[in-house]
């Protein structure tokens, strides 16, 4: 890289990556829990993709029954700690809280859920669920992200023997490798993995299906297979200069940051992030917090078209990120190492995005982070016979999560094109029901 930003002191790193939403104290949690109206058939529960019985778990906080509260939460969502900290609650449960209609602040559901899950971890995660007696059937799961983990945990409650095959050294998927450290810690995700292992789930890490173990082997060993591989292929910009030193994929960059070894992550003095989704925002704010002097977000459309949530956009603004809207990257300029990003201005004509001829301009940068989305690994999935893929997503039956190959089920980012942890958690759980019904021929 041409100009690596100077390293910060450990204290500065800690401050920059400190939690954005700190925990509630016991007293504050109790007061907040008591503020909950205990709605019947509550809108927050409907808004949660995993349909946690929110008013019940909050009521249990108010009665001091934290164990019962943890069970209420986990019985709907196996990665509830991650969700408590990383869910876009404004868009989901808290956004649906009836207090909005009353003109009052919504209940801090995310923080209350975290209060319970922190307690649960502090108590060393006592067993709250008893796996059923072995039913003699076995399920293989590809990928230990939230979808795979949720599916595995739920399957143990039906009595299945479950093995997860995970390519990475650490289980947890993006919960472990992707979520911004100021939202949650890697250890939170690893704790969830530990809890699920305790149900009897075997996790083989460092095993890439299709390379370290074949599909044939997998099919022979297991009565059904769940695909929870997420989106592993970063999309390319398809412009010249992408091979230069200083050009990185957002996912690789973010993964290094989640390890919390900040000193070892190089970041340019001036950084351009291409894209405008939540991942792009994460990459931009993380670059800034690592010590980049200036970070530019470059997006070919306008603010209104950005897919990032409002609160993510606000965060980026607060971090002092500069936005280039209506700027289409044309090429990366430099000699082996990045020197600048050249862009063209765009405009929308008859609803179509058009670049404006001869509108080139250069943003001098030392680093370019590509965050224009991730895709599924189609070549990998193509080796599963008869597996139907449409628009870059594995096609499943919406109720059973069964794919076009009856032995295979799928869930998470690979079936929805990339949503949230909570969606993956729900898919995994529902797919376990689908698998159970399939194997035991239930309707």
């Amino acid at each position: 890289m041409n100009n690596v930003a100077p390293k910060l002191t450990s204290k500065e790193y800690e401050a920059n990556f400190a939690e954005l939403k700190p925990a509630l104290t016991d007293v504050a949690a109790l007061a907040e829990a008591n503020r909950c109206l205990y709605c019947y058939d509550s809108p927050c529960m409907t808004a949660c993709p995993t349909h946690i019985d929110i008013s019940t778990f909050i009521k249990k906080i108010s009665t001091g029954n934290l164990r019962g509260s943890a069970k209420t939460i986990l019985s709907s969502n196996w990665v509830a700690l991650t969700c408590a900290k990383a869910c876009p609650v404004d868009e989901l449960c808290e956004g649906a809280c009836v207090y909005h209609a009353k003109g009052e602040k919504p209940i801090q559901i995310g923080k209350l859920q975290r209060h319970v899950m922190d307690w649960y971890v502090e108590k060393r995660m006592p067993q709250l669920f008893t796996p059923a007696e072995m039913n003699g059937k076995t399920v293989g799961i590809i990928g230990a992200g939230p979808a795979g983990l949720a599916c595995a945990a739920e399957l143990t409650l039906f009595g299945f023997e479950v093995t997860i095959y995970e390519a990475s050294k650490l289980a947890g998927g993006l919960d472990t490798h992707g979520i911004a450290p100021y939202k949650m810690q890697q250890q939170d995700s690893l704790n969830e993995v530990k809890m699920i292992k305790r149900l009897g789930v075997k996790i083989k890490t460092g095993v890439r299906v299709g390379k370290d173990i074949s599909f044939e082997k997998l099919e022979k060993t297991h009565d059904a297979v769940f695909i929870g591989v997420g989106l592993s292929m970063p999309a390319d910009l398809k412009i010249s200069g992408e091979e230069m030193i200083g050009v990185v994929n957002a996912l690789d960059f973010v993964e290094n940051v989640t390890k919390r070894k900040w000193k070892s992550v190089d970041v340019g003095r001036r950084v351009a992030v291409i894209g405008a989704g939540n991942t792009a925002i994460d990459a931009a704010t993380e670059a800034k917090r690592l010590g980049a002097e200036e970070v530019f977000m470059v997006y070919r459309r306008g603010r209104e078209q950005m897919s990032a949530y409002d609160f993510e956009f606000e965060l980026a603004k607060r971090d002092g990120i500069t936005f280039y809207f209506h700027a289409q990257p044309k090429k990366i300029v430099g000699k082996k190492k990045v020197q600048a990003l050249e862009c063209l201005e765009t405009r929308i004509v008859n609803g179509k995005l058009k670049t404006i001829p001869r509108s080139e301009f250069k943003i001098p940068v030392d680093m370019v982070i590509k965050a224009v989305g991730q895709n599924i690994d189609e070549t990998f999935l193509a080796s599963i016979p008869k597996l139907k893929i449409k628009d870059g997503m594995v096609v499943v039956n919406t109720k059973s999560y069964q794919t076009s190959n009856p032995k295979y089920f799928a869930g998470g980012d690979c079936i929805n094109g990339g949503k949230e942890v909570v969606n993956a958690a729900y898919d995994g759980k529902r797919a376990a029901y689908g698998i159970h019904n399939f194997i035991f021929k239930k309707k």
């Binding site: 007061a31 109206l37 709605c39 509550s42 809108p43 108010s62 009836v98 207090y99 009353k102």
Partner: protein, 436 residues
């Protein structure tokens, strides 16, 4: 101009707000401080027989994060000597001549001892005497406090001992730990009391510790019943005050207390017949400063309503108290939910469905689920109204024009006796009142 001055059984004060006999009135120092911020009077912490207190005397009930909705205590009467208390009464009265200083007294049931303390109290310059017949713990085991208040004959006897020598007004403070508050009230009247104070604290156990099984609060492993006060007891006190106020045999000025925390509470008691109002728990929670808003709020309310003196409103709500037999059976009210205000918590639905008359439906409307009253089945019980967390969202709409009226007392006179369910249903049916 609003004038808050009162005269309660001959005891005058610049406003009706008195501190109740309790820890806030332990000493001259405290009472002077209270007078400085505006309290109109103070009933001195009960003076009398020698006592010794225990630790952990207070317990409280918190509710949904709200501290002290009720306070329980096993404190005894003043543990300072009679001499010191009387000396400080004299000093305080000199400093604050316009304020009411009432001495609360409790001594052994002996005529001479009573005569002696009454005379000394008058000599100290107190404006009045309050006889503590209420303390429900410690003193009662020694034949004082509620042991007197619960036996009308004792009540009369001791009151007579006091009134036969007293030259200043005598208020008798009643214990609520009786089945009918009017009996000790009448007994006090018989003993020539000049006024009635009520209520003292209510027998309660605050709680049980789930780890140790000890009674809360525990004093060296033991606990027991104490006297309950604070916001939780207000409805009980309101009822008892109204019973004393309405009893034609009593007809005495009332100094009311029990759960008064603000000017609104105070006005409710005055509307039910109180002349002065006393406060203990609320000041123990927040300090003397709360009187400022009590005076201010009352004044503003009176100004808004056009009243100039508390005499104009005293007892004005009593006429609206009726016994069940005199209420109109044909008055028809039905719950109405304002969909525009509804926040869709569905609390009305589940309350009605599970515990009332199953007459609220969850109707799908514009993508939202709207609780809706099925009017033909609504009995007008008002449960939905009280569970709804939004102001003015559920209202009880009057459906009759008030023209028809029949009370139970009238009805039983008309229907053949002994009353049969068939005859009653026929009457209901005639008036379109169905039973669900």
């Amino acid at each position: 101009m609003v004038d808050l001055r009162i005269n309660c059984a001959g005891i005058t004060s610049p406003n009706p707000f008195w501190l109740a006999s309790a820890p806030p009135t332990n000493s001259g120092y405290q009472i002077c401080k209270a007078f400085e911020v505006g309290w109109g009077g103070a009933v001195w912490k009960t003076i009398g027989a020698p006592v010794m207190n225990v630790v952990n005397r207070y317990g409280a009930v918190d509710f949904n994060g709200q501290k002290i909705i009720g306070l329980n205590n096993i404190e005894l009467i003043s543990d300072r000597s009679i001499e010191i208390n009387l000396k400080e009464i004299a000093e305080t009265k000199k400093l604050w001549p316009d304020r009411a200083i009432v001495a609360s007294l409790m001594v052994e049931s002996d005529r001479k001892i009573w005569h002696d303390i009454v005379k000394r109290t008058i000599d100290a310059g107190a404006d009045g005497i309050e006889l503590n017949y209420g303390c429900p713990h410690g003193m009662s085991e020694r034949g004082m406090g509620s042991a007197v208040g619960q036996v009308p004959e004792y009540c009369t006897m001791i009151t007579e001992w006091v009134t036969e020598v007293s030259t200043i007004p005598v208020l008798v403070k009643l214990t609520p730990n009786v089945t009918d508050i009017r009996f000790p009230g009448r007994a006090a009247k018989k003993g020539n009391a000049n006024g009635i104070s009520l209520i003292n604290t209510i027998n309660t156990i605050i709680g049980v510790d789930l780890d140790t099984f000890q009674i809360e609060p525990s004093r060296g492993g033991k606990g027991g019943h104490g006297g309950y006060a604070g916001p939780a007891i207000k409805p009980i006190a309101l009822n008892m005050v109204s019973e004393i106020a309405r009893d034609p045999e009593i007809n005495l000025p009332i100094s009311a207390m029990g759960g008064i925390s603000n000017w609104k509470d105070a006005l409710e008691f005055i509307l039910l017949g109180a002349t002065s109002v006393q406060v203990c728990t609320a000041v123990m929670h927040y300090g003397f400063r709360i009187v400022e808003d009590m005076i201010d709020g009352t004044t503003n309310w009176m100004e808004e309503k056009g009243y100039t003196s508390l005499d104009q409103i005293r007892g004005k709500a009593l006429a609206n108290i009726a016994n069940f037999g005199d209420m109109n059976l044909l008055s028809k009210h039905i719950a109405h939910i304002d969909a525009g205000k509804c926040i869709h918590c569905n609390l009305c639905y589940i309350a009605c469905e599970d515990t009332a008359h199953q007459c609220i439906d969850l109707v799908q409307k514009k993508g939202k689920i709207q609780p809706t009253v099925r009017e033909s089945d609504c009995v007008g019980c008002r449960l939905c109204y009280i569970v709804c967390p939004v102001d003015h969202c559920i209202t009880m709409v009057q459906k009759d024009n008030g023209a028809q009226s029949k009370t139970w007392n009238e009805l039983v006179k008309e229907l053949p006796q002994p009353l049969s369910i068939e005859d009653l249903r026929k009457f209901q049916h005639k008036h379109g009142i169905d039973v669900h």
